[in-house]
Symmetry: C2
Subunit: 304 residues, 2 copies
DNA sequence: GGTCTGCCAAAAGGAACACTTAATGTACGA
DNA sequence: TCGTACATTAAGTGTTCCTTTTGGCAGACC
């Protein structure tokens, strides 16, 4: 059972004439390819390459295996195309709406997987802050959209003909600058402890988070800075710089490029739900496929 | 690029009718196969399997991919056979002589690799304690033989028509029962410290180790038990039981099933060289191939 | 002759992957 | 209601693979 990646490496060397060139053409470093080819030679039980001082050629055995390799790679390519055609995806397009955070942290691996399986589907990603995503699906501007809803808050009803499926529920956690963690212990922090703390908040009248901001105000947190920017990049940067604390989704806290200290809150009253809005029976095949990937993809994300 | 192992799993499920049966037929557990198939489905971007309550069937997409998979696996099989034929190995045989320790610790992974590449070569492994291995190659009883030579000792000259290639040089180290390590420190132990220690030794007149035993006697070690058994399994067992200390090859000390404390000696005068004895130009193709595997295989063994 | 350049290989460290066992879920038949 | 058969989920462990760094080697060039 030869690893097709290694077979592709062999073919690439045959065509490029050197390991280094083949590696850069495939997007690897030269040592990586050298190791893989050495393993392939061991597995094949024969010398496949002749190392020249001006490149690398294939031996007779190498040419033979490269020939079979081309056929193997061809079969796999055909399989991919056939599967795409069977799924009715070939040549179609897929338009995804997403809010900023999901677009940064969640969507990329899923879209990568989709693209690998269906390279000829035209992909479009558009940024919509909720509830604009729902509107976009309703208007037919996108095939599906990722949205979020915060608790405590009232859930907006779905327009008729649209459906919402929950992908992930995550807690909101407290983030502070490193070394500024409030009080002792590592367990959940009572919300009351936020009283008097300078709070970096989203716009209080920003619909999705309205309930959260009000609850924080009731706990006695002191508004320090109000961020009007979509997403949490700015909030995290300000918190990391020591301007105050903030309550953000767990995923944001963990993936933040700025260093942050993270702490859960008690009681765990703050949550956000990430959902995908779609058209149900009227979904395109591409949309259905992406939704399947979203489901398993988010399963992995929550496990990590 | 579909992993051929996963493709084989899909074919196996198609033929077995259930994941559990396919798994046991392939030598895996059911969860392993289930996970691999789930990944294949994600990669393919389509549902391949229909989970019944009485087994698992393939969907149309699954059947399609399974068909391509059969062809891919076929190509790989053909490639293997062609490579074997090209190497002149098909239907041949390979007889290997080895001393006990190498047969236990070094040869198995190399033979496994050889067998995978050339399943139709008839393999024979025979146990020869040096210098009988050289004689066996000279007599044509085996195609090649692994032998060892200890230092200090005189190297026997090769009979004409035979050649010896060094594969590995390893130090001899001191082993004791756990908790009985002599003196302090973790650096190399001066040989003089062995004076008066009870020594588990190989037969003093056993040719390969004669020089080693004599040097240990000169250092003042007290013979406690003399082992006449080939290999070091018995020596290690006695040492581990606390009957005395011993000086054994590093590889033996590290791979011993009985728990042992290991310490290097100073000066590092004791070594053994593991070589392969062969016929040079008159080697069979199979022998040449195995020697290539031995070279890279021992490279890995020394790295581990 | 000495230096530079291009190419390949070895070593070490970190991230990802695949396997295992154990536990959970689900439909069917007695 | 229980027992069986099948599949999945979860958690832990070992291996694999890729990257960076380093070293060696042959020809080109000054």
């Amino acid at each position: 059972m030869y690893d097709p990646t290694r077979l592709a490496a062999l073919v690439a060397v045959a065509e490029a004439g050197s390991i280094t060139r083949a590696a850069s053409r495939l997007g690897y470093t030269a040592p990586a390819l050298s190791q893989q080819l050495a393993k392939l030679e061991r597995e094949a039980g024969a010398a496949l390459l002749v190392r020249h001082h001006r490149g690398t050629r294939l031996t007779a055995a190498g040419e033979l295996l490269a020939g079979r390799a081309r056929r193997v790679l061809d079969e796999m390519d055909q399989a991919r195309h056939e599967l795409a055609r069977l799924a009715g995806l070939s040549g179609g397009r897929l338009r995804v709406g997403t809010f900023v955070t999901a677009g940064i942290h969640l969507l990329p691996p899923v879209l990568t997987a989709f693209r690998r399986a269906h390279p000829d589907v035209e992909l479009t990603v558009t940024d919509y802050e909720p509830p604009a995503g729902v509107t976009a699906v309703a208007a037919g501007d996108v095939d599906l959209a990722l949205t979020h809803a915060y608790e405590p808050a009232a859930a907006d009803p779905m327009p008729s003909g649209l459906f919402s499926e929950t992908l992930l529920v995550e807690e909101l956690v407290l983030v502070t600058a490193l070394g500024q963690m409030l009080s002792e212990g590592s367990g959940p922090l009572p919300v009351a402890e936020l009283a008097g703390r300078p709070l970096i908040s989203s716009a209080p009248e920003h619909p999705p988070r309205r309930g959260v901001e009000r609850a924080l105000a009731e706990a006695g947190a002191t508004p320090a800075v109000v961020c009007e920017s979509p997403g949490y990049a700015l909030v995290c940067a300000l918190v990391s710089a020591g301007l105050g604390v903030a309550v953000v989704p767990e995923m944001v806290a963990e993936m933040s490029p700025a260093p942050l200290a993270v702490r859960r809150l008690e009681p765990a009253a703050f949550r956000r739900t990430i959902s995908v809005v779609h058209r149900g029976d009227r979904n395109t095949a591409a949309a259905t496929t992406l939704m399947a990937l979203l489901r398993s993809g988010f399963g992995r994300a929550s496990a990590a």
